[in-house]
């Protein structure tokens, strides 16, 4: 028996598997999983972490609004707002009241439901439609790609606000209809992004390997490649939520959005406008405005944090 055989046998005795494996086992260590790495990178982003905590608190508040809000958001209290003068912030009403004495804190809390619902629904719609169409366009190429992307280009050419107002004049504005409408004007951005990802993903050798195995095309697109495009899609989603929230606020502000008396941050802001001029009731606009700004900022910070964390090129040292 040669020494080489002896070495092989030793390796086999110690581990019970083939020698190459045994030795690999001895010398290699498990690297960190990609998700753990992503998580650690995200945690290094201070602002993103703080923002994520803020958003979490906001979700909980929105979810538990009826129990958390100190008053009924639509309860009118004419004692409080005498002669239609908004009551300024006090201990009982920390954010003051509006011209009919409704508690602004309660309205801000309930308004968060509308903002978040629209943000998520609209984004969800845009992401699903955009991802499916973008993935098909990018993977199939040629005329399929041409057709889908021309439609997207056409829709991009529409002025978005005009489109929304036109639609919302026709249908009754609710969180759902507004979300769908906002989704309709946003899926193209997602589709473009996803198409770009798929243009490179489809040339990856593992896509070719799947084809060579005989995996059906839909499974290659959605089961092989899509998980590899999730990083950018998640980032796009996080960044499109605040955009949808802003759009909803704008619509409500212009009177095309959620109709009073249901509270939304946008229609509260619009309502505040008159009283800011006549009564210097700054609190009526300040708090809803602050919430819009904070929420939008927080989503953007989280999006930035995710972008860095999901980028395989960024490193931890």
């Amino acid at each position: 028996m040669t020494d080489r055989d002896a070495a092989i046998e030793r390796a086999e005795l110690t581990t019970g598997v083939s020698p190459a494996v045994a030795i690999e086992e001895l010398v290699s260590e498990r690297p960190e999983s990609p998700w753990r790495l992503t998580w650690r990178r995200f945690l290094r982003h201070r602002l993103a972490v703080v923002s994520a905590v803020f958003l979490l608190a906001l979700f909980v508040t929105a979810l538990l609004a009826p129990w958390i809000a100190p008053y009924d958001p639509n309860a009118i209290d004419l004692q409080l707002a005498q002669f239609g003068r908004p009551a300024s912030p006090s201990l009982a009403h920390p954010m003051g009241s509006d011209q009919v004495g409704r508690d602004l804190l309660s309205r801000v809390i309930h308004g968060s439901r509308v903002s978040l619902a629209v943000g998520f629904l609209a984004t969800g719609f845009a992401i699903v439609v955009g991802t499916v169409l973008g993935a098909i366009a990018g993977y199939a190429g040629r005329w399929v790609d041409m057709a889908i992307m021309r439609v997207a280009d056409m829709m991009l050419a529409f002025p978005p606000l005009l489109f929304l107002m036109a639609v919302l004049v026709g249908v009754r504005p609710s969180a759902l209809t507004i979300s769908l409408a906002i989704g309709v004007i946003n899926w193209m951005y997602v589709a473009r992004l996803v198409r770009g990802e798929f243009l490179t993903l489809r040339t990856r050798e593992y896509a070719e390997a799947a084809r060579a195995i005989g995996v059906p095309t839909w499974a290659i697109i959605f089961r092989e490649l899509l998980p590899n495009a999730m990083g950018p899609i998640i980032v796009a989603a996080t960044l499109s939520i605040p955009a949808a929230i802003l759009t909803e606020s704008t619509l409500s502000f212009l009177g095309f959005g959620i109709q009073p008396p249901t509270a939304s941050w946008g229609n509260m802001l619009q309502n505040a406008f008159t009283y800011l001029r006549d009564y210097r009731a700054w609190w009526m606009g300040f708090y809803p405005g602050l919430m819009i700004a904070l929420t939008v900022l927080a989503f953007n910070f989280v999006g930035d944090g995710l972008r860095d964390a999901l980028d395989p090129r960024s490193r931890i040292d």
């Binding site: 080489r4 593992y206 390997a209 060579a212």
Partner: protein, 712 residues
């Protein structure tokens, strides 16, 4: 014999006079990552004389590049740092210089060139401007002088139309031209020392031969010392005077080139030499790989770092680290076998298993390809108007018999990969027929084709992009089994475990992700996926090109074993002619989308006929120190022409040393000139025999060099 180990307690010796240019003492460069220390270079010492060429050889990750960068103090810090040692260069100690003084040395006294010149040339400046800048900066020339000098340098490194190319941006040049431009830039300041890090690894053999020739010539003319870093022992044998063999950040053997090849001493060197397929040895069933894989530099094994892979290791090796022993012949070796107190001289085991090729070739064709053509249209503008065609494959015929391996070789861009994809119908052919087991593949549609795919598989070159990073190894291998419903439920898992074991991987790896594996292991996973559905036929597209030589031998053995065991037929695509010799039954050479020669393995290597084949074979660097310089080499001029507008007549006529009258007008057909040896060249066509006889005798018709390199 006396150990020449670490001598840190001795006073610093002044640099020796005479011819010594560089002396490195106990150099250590570490990288610090998240609490671990990667000892990339761990106490290396060597010296180099003026005008001498030192080779540094070792597998990837052995510290070759870092040792080169350390000489220039180009280590990124953090995470890296030179933590110890001395570098004496021309009377100065480099590690004690200030950064400003060091800048004077870099580019001026010591220059470095890299494997991929694109990354070291600035993409936004023209090649000429970059050389001019160096000349103005380091040699104090005026702009006009520098311009003239730059053009003459470009001419000196063999760039045609230097005044024209002066204005080219790096991406506008071919790989070979870029490497020449990089060399011109490195030489612009007449350095005393040139460090070349794998300068020819990214190039095709015919271009590699040109660049090696050029470097040897320049090194002689400029009397420049050179450190030549490479993993290719053939290259070492051709250009170097002395060699350092590196393993895990240390030098394990040092000696002259003839010593290294005629009387290697270290078990690792033995392993390296044994695991290489040799172009001048007939085909064998198995190569002799080095077992295991290179160690993790952050967790080096105890004692001798090579002991987990060393067939000679004994107790002492695991515990104590060997020093460098100096042998009477002047070689130094880091291995306990050479401890002076050991009585018996070490015996090198007969490593190569003399197993004859066992073949079960059935002479009924499994795959028959006729008139296969693939054009890729180049389109412009929004209307996608077709402006030209890339002629990737242009009418090729071949067959693959059952149980046989057809080797497919040729330089980059000649259409090898496209051919492989076409026969699997991963690409739609422009024309031609493909019959697989009698079935016309092009007539299959949709589901029919998909179920046919069970029988034909592919293994890719790049072990990193060929595995889906989001799937576990188990689910990657299970995929073909599930798609073709070959098993259900637990039975799938059972089969996956069995296949993993079969390709030499631990079955517990099934729930790990691809990024947790090394290149060689990933290639095993790719092979496991390919065999999972019991195919008959596999296209192997450069399956070992991305791997280190020791791992390459493991994979080649695995592929050959699987072939015999499962009765597989292969198309083995490669650019390395030695590897192809080791694995193929028959070999086909492609040039610009055409097969120019096809013959049985022994016939092909023993009696190559086509001028292109001859040139390719002669360009392969060989381990043959005795005949170094005496070997006649055919160095082809220029680059492979563009496949967009391939040359008329014989496509090779622009570079062919034997070109004669009909060559640029009439296209030669691939003809059987006897016993299955096919050649497409007018020299072997009876119709042109008379003229060919004249051409054969005449001086080669182009400026091709048929020279005897390496003398001087």
């Amino acid at each position: 014999m006396e150990p020449t180990g670490p001598r840190r307690d001795q006073p610093l010796s002044a640099p020796a006079g005479g011819d010594e240019l560089l002396r490195v003492e106990e150099l250590r460069t570490y990288f610090f990552h998240r609490g671990t220390t990667v000892r990339a270079v761990d106490g290396i010492s060597y010296q180099l004389n003026r005008g001498e060429v030192l080779g540094v050889v070792g597998e990837s990750g052995s510290g070759k590049t870092v040792s080169g960068l350390s000489l220039l103090r180009l280590i990124d810090s953090p995470p890296g740092r030179i933590v110890g040692g001395r570098i004496w260069f021309d009377g100065q100690e480099l590690l004690s210089l200030t950064e400003a003084e060091m800048r004077e040395i870099r580019g001026n006294e010591i220059a470095m060139i890299f494997q991929e010149p694109l990354t070291s040339l600035n993409p936004v400046f023209t090649v000429g401007d970059q050389i001019v800048e160096a000349l103005v900066l380091h040699r104090g020339m005026t702009k006009a002088q520098a311009r003239e000098e730059a053009i003459s340098l470009l001419a000196r490194v063999g760039i045609p139309n230097p005044a024209e190319r002066f204005k080219a941006y790096p991406h506008q040049l071919s790989g070979g031209m870029r490497q020449r431009a990089m060399i011109a830039m490195a030489l612009s300041c007449r350095p005393k020392l040139l460090i070349a890090d794998e300068p020819t690894t990214a190039l095709d053999v015919s271009i590699q031969a040109q660049i090696l020739e050029l470097m040897k010539e320049l090194q002689r003319d400029f009397r420049m010392a050179m450190i030549f870093i490479t993993h290719d022992l053939g290259v070492i044998s051709e250009v170097c005077d002395r060699v350092n063999v590196m393993y895990a950040g240390r030098i394990v053997e040092q000696g002259t080139t003839p010593q290294l090849f005629t009387s290697p001493r270290h078990p690792y060197t033995w392993g390296l030499l044994d695991c290489l397929p040799k172009i001048d040895e007939p085909r064998r069933q198995r190569l002799t790989p080095i077992i295991g894989q290179p160690p993790n530099l952050a967790r080096l094994p105890s004692g001798c770092t090579f002991h987990p892979r060393c067939p000679y290791a004994w107790e002492k090796c695991r515990v104590e680290e060997p020093p460098l022993f100096r042998l009477p012949e002047g070689q130094t070796v880091r291995c306990w076998l050479y401890e002076p107190s050991r009585a018996e001289a070490p015996v090198r085991l007969i490593a190569r298993e003399e197993i004859e090729v066992r073949r079960v070739v059935d002479h009924r064709p499994l795959l028959e390809v006729q008139g296969l053509v693939k054009h890729f249209p180049i389109t412009r503008g929004i209307l996608q108007r077709k402006v030209a065609d890339v002629v990737a494959v242009d009418g090729i015929d071949f067959t693959v018999n059952r149980g046989e391996t057809l080797g497919l070789v040729g330089e980059s861009g000649c259409g090898k990969t496209t051919t492989g994809r076409l026969v699997l119908r991963l690409l739609e052919p422009t024309a031609g027929t493909i019959r697989f087991d009698g079935v016309d593949l092009r007539s299959l549609k949709g589901d029919q084709l998909r179920s046919f795919r069970r029988r034909m598989q592919i293994v890719f070159q790049d072990p990193f992009s060929s595995l889906n990073p989001r799937r576990t190894v188990g689910s990657i291998i299970a995929q073909p089994i599930e798609v073709h419903r070959l098993a259900q439920g637990r039975e799938v898992e059972e089969r996956v475990r069995h296949i993993l074991e079969r390709v030499g991987l631990n079955p517990v790896y099934a729930n790990r992700y691809p990024h947790e594996f090394s290149g060689g292991q990933r290639q095993r996973i790719g092979i496991a996926r390919a065999i999972a559905a019991n195919p008959d036929f596999i296209v192997l597209d450069e399956p070992v090109s991305a791997l280190d030589v020791s791992i390459q031998a493991q994979i080649i053995n695995l592929l050959q074993d699987l072939q015999l065991e499962l009765g597989l037929s292969y198309i083995f695509i490669a650019h390395d002619l030695s590897v192809v010799r080791a694995v193929s039954d028959r070999v086909a050479v492609m040039y610009l989308g055409k097969i120019v020669e096809l013959a049985d393995n022994a016939e092909f290597y023993g009696n190559p006929l086509h001028p292109y084949t001859k040139a390719l074979l002669s360009a392969v660097p060989r381990i043959d120190p005795a005949r170094r310089g005496a070997r006649q080499r055919i160095i082809l001029p220029g680059d492979v022409p563009s496949p967009i507008n391939p040359p008329s007549g014989c496509r090779f006529h622009t570079r062919c040393p034997y070109r004669f009258t009909p060559c640029d007008k009439i296209e030669p057909r691939l003809r059987d000139i006897g016993s299955g040896h096919f050649v497409a060249c007018h020299l072997y066509d009876p119709e042109f025999a008379e003229q060919a006889g004249l051409a054969g005798k005449a001086v080669p018709a182009t400026e091709a060099v048929v020279g005897s390199p390496g003398q001087g």
